[in-house]
Symmetry: D2
Subunit: 334 residues, 4 copies
């Protein structure tokens, strides 16, 4: 699903063009159109349909400026290293390198200054390329909503319960017998990722943030769009109306640099009682904005609670990788 979203989001991109597709052994030599079970409403672009799938190997790919990785974690580890060693800038959705100290997890409106971590990565590993990861989908959505709060009020504790879409599990992913008329209160390793990645992203380079995060992750019967019910204890008082304002006006480097995939406002605040909703709001900012609603005082934590929704394969995966690569290009790192 993430691979398909990459293809969709790179169509007509002003800076980048897909030159080659690589996949695991059993797919090599097959045309992509034959290989993929395309699940997006947009048809497969004709030129991509005919691309022959290449081996995941820098030698077979040749001279490209950017490598996007949506490999399974177990395959990603060595393969991404091969590409970085070979001089490629690898923008990865895989979790395998995210928690390496010298690999940044970038959600660019939140922590683009972490890009500098790759200097250490290159030095330590002797690579001319580098690996830059983006957060897991749930974390990407969460941290974007947290950033203006951290700046304005300080954060002490975050408790988050997620209601995640099935596309997050890839294809075939979640069996229909598991999710029709059902909720699954478990997604393997997801809570651990949310808890550790959030602190890494929201800290200083190589110094995790000091606040605490606890997550409870659930799969629900939606196609795209992760909903998260967030409770926060802030350091200073955060009145809901100020929070709404601070979030709504928030912009980051991608906005200042006018990156092609950056939405005008990365956080859209809705004031209706019953928003955000996945089906209606997930495409906000072409899937790159998160939508926040129901901002209200939380007496129990002495803070606030709200709902945030983000498109898990756009902001939460392929879109975030692309935005990261745009940032690198804009600041001369590619």
């Amino acid at each position: 699903m993430v691979g398909q979203k990459f293809i969709e989001m790179l169509q007509g991109h002003p800076w980048f063009r897909i030159e080659a597709l690589a996949a695991s052994e059993r797919s090599i030599g097959i045309r992509y159109g034959q290989l993929t079970k395309w699940r997006l409403p947009m048809p497969i672009p004709e030129d991509i349909k005919d691309l022959e799938v290449l081996p995941v190997d820098p030698k077979s790919i040749g001279d490209v400026d950017v490598v996007y990785s949506a490999l399974p974690a177990e395959e990603a580890k060595a393969a991404e290293e091969d590409f970085a060693r070979d001089g490629h800038m690898v923008f990865s959705n895989a979790s395998s390198h995210r928690m390496d100290e010298d690999v940044p997890i970038l959600n660019p409106e939140v922590n683009c200054e972490h890009a500098s971590i790759i200097d250490e990565q290159r030095k330590r590993r002797g690579w001319s390329g580098a690996i830059i990861t983006n957060p897991n989908c749930t974390t990407a959505v969460l941290t974007l909503s947290l950033k203006p709060l951290q700046d304005e009020y300080g954060i002490r504790r975050v408790l988050v319960t997620t209601m995640q879409a099935v596309s997050g599990a890839g294809y075939p992913g979640v069996a229909s017998l598991d999710i029709l008329d059902n909720v699954i209160p478990f997604i393997k390793n997801e809570e651990e990722k949310v808890q550790s990645e959030t602190l890494k992203i929201m800290g200083e380079p190589v110094k995790p943030a000091k606040f605490k995060v606890s997550a409870s992750c659930n799969r629900v019967s939606t196609i795209d769009g992760h909903m998260e019910a967030v409770f926060i204890e802030t350091e200073i008082k955060a009145p809901p109306s100020s929070v709404a304002e601070v979030m709504a006006k928030f912009q980051g480097e991608p906005q200042r640099l006018k990156l092609p995939t950056a939405p005008n406002f990365p956080i859209v605040v809705r004031h209706e009682d019953d928003r955000p909703q996945p089906r209606l709001d997930r495409m906000e900012g072409k899937g790159m904005s998160v939508v926040v609603g129901r901002i209200r005082r939380d007496e129990v934590l002495d803070g606030i609670k709200y709902i945030v929704l983000g498109h898990n394969t756009a902001r939460g995966a392929a879109g975030c990788s692309i935005l990261n690569s745009e940032y690198f290009k804009a600041v001369g790192l590619i």
Copy 2:
């Protein structure tokens, strides 16, 4: 939906039998089978199908021992008072009287001692009957899971995010266009009810409990069964394995009295990673047990977190009313 569940759950009841059905003005005189849009897999019982609907008025109902109310809140207020004044024991699902100081909200495994509140009610109001309410569906499920924790570890704070089934909104209730491929992060008045009712139920009679509750309520695409992701700060340390044991062995008065609708164990603890699930677990104990899973340490609140599931129209509504009436009968209050 709650009215239908009452009929289902009272079929073959050893102590009670449906003598009469009453409903609002426009339904009077129509046979129930003609009137209702029956939505349960069990067919309407033949004898009930032919019952003529009577006015909601003690005079028209005649001599019955127990009155169950699933009236809309606005109609329930005066009507339930009429019945109580007339000497009837009214077991009500409506919210209109729940927060009256002299009306108990009973979830019998949790606070059957609150039954005594009706003495004050009768004295103050000069009634020979009484109104006994049961909690709103979400609260019924939550408080049952909290009770053994309160007894064993003490509770300081509770944060709960719910994923509630559509049957909780009645029929026609939630529009399909609102819930297919969607989540609605809002249920009118629900969070307020969870927060206030929980403290009333878990306190002493007329003295609400002192801990704090914060709720974030969502509607998801399930038919029956409310899921709740609970985070708790306890007064003394609550190791997950002890919590599991304490919950699994918990029993209350309904179990000791062997009430007909009481499940053997009101809390069933599952140890699989991915349980409870609404479709698979909501009928546990014929819908009267709640199912708890994923009990784990919560570092953020210094306590525990877990998932609890309960059948919203059984334990959360009709079943709880029936269990309350059984309790009253067993202890001689009817």
Copy 3:
């Protein structure tokens, strides 16, 4: 839902602009943004949001070139007549006038020559305006797929089983309790409409076609997009590969006139085993093309069978009305 789709599809229209919105008594004077429960992913256009709803009365609407009607059938009858009498061209989705002999049902690629029926309508009724209807959603999709077959092979019998989306029932429409984990094998009056409208559309003006149609209509759990399984007995042999070719190259007047809302090809033929699918194919041609797949020989009827999918609120409702108004404008009837 159809009203909202009109607004969506008229945004940025090169020829038409929404000047006024009218609705029934209880909505008059309210701003549309306050009134509507907007259910489309696209936000309400800002200028439409602020429009004050006017009475359904030609006097209150003033000078407009085109009137689109998505009124409930019972309100549409008199109201549409009032507007036509007052000189307006009324393009209506309502069923109330469809079977009037002097009112055309236009699906413009299929029977644009029926536009001439309005001459008789005006003469007979003494109107300067006219009422032009479009087919019910299921019929619009079906007849578009039948047209090239009728032309090429002749049609003797059509049997069609539909699987229709919930948006076809409007909002709130289908209750979630009725459609989650369910199929409803009944849609009021739908089969009668499909059977009679198809013959009127596919006949000559005021002379219904002679073939026979039988329909079995079902509601399934999809948001948009009506699927139809069609079995056809043709007059001359219709080999599946020729049928595919004839359908794929089919174009009508809207294509020749290059009308703004006309898709390049009104029928898109898919050759994969498992297409069309509502979620993936309903937006083909911006919702104005139907998608046909699984064309295969039917030995039982000595003909063919296939699946056709169309967007029920685009080609099946608002889009067809708009296309009709474009046709009238292009040929000088407006």
Copy 4:
């Protein structure tokens, strides 16, 4: 899913008890409770949970009276032959032997006299055991509804469009991304099976029926229960009210023999406009009755049309196998 349904339906069976479970190579030696991803609301029976899975080999199974097979078609072919050769009566859901001329497909209310085909099977193959198959799920439901019509009116042509539940594809089976907000108009080999099996079942032993069947098979978003929209041309006139009566009173050998799994009436006729519905009606007769509704005249075929619903894993699979085995026992063939 079928294996699990066998276990569910054999719980507490008066004649049969599960002695052993066998499965493919990679499962051997594992306890069933460890192995299976149990998807039924009923918990796994404790004694079955602990059964160690054995090899699919008559030698490892030992002395049992009945062998039920829910093997994948490709594994079933040789394995079922091994068991029959070894003297076992094999009741199989697999399709591999269904169309063998000397193997009966039994839907016992429809064609229990076909049981005699095993004489030829044994003679020809030199087996002391035998293979008895039951129809594919869609065919089991269809043929049961057709039987009284064939007897009373004669059948010339049958056209059927199905809307099939996801459990029919096993587990994990249909991906949620394929079926949420979607319909899939294709099920591999299903239409061919419906067409050929129906004629074999409804003919005389080894002489297929002469009428014609055409099927169009779709997967929809329901958990259990196959819906079928049927159009029939009858030999003599079949007025809908007579059809309803003939179907409702229909009984077969299983009813006369009072077999434990036989429902009182294998066809239940509903007279409401909007029934049958999968969620409400699939458990009729514990899943062993089919439910027919919307019986109406079909002018196009000069016959009738109706909707039939049946539980695909009960009547359509495990339940039909069990009923067949009961029939064999009752008539002394086991």
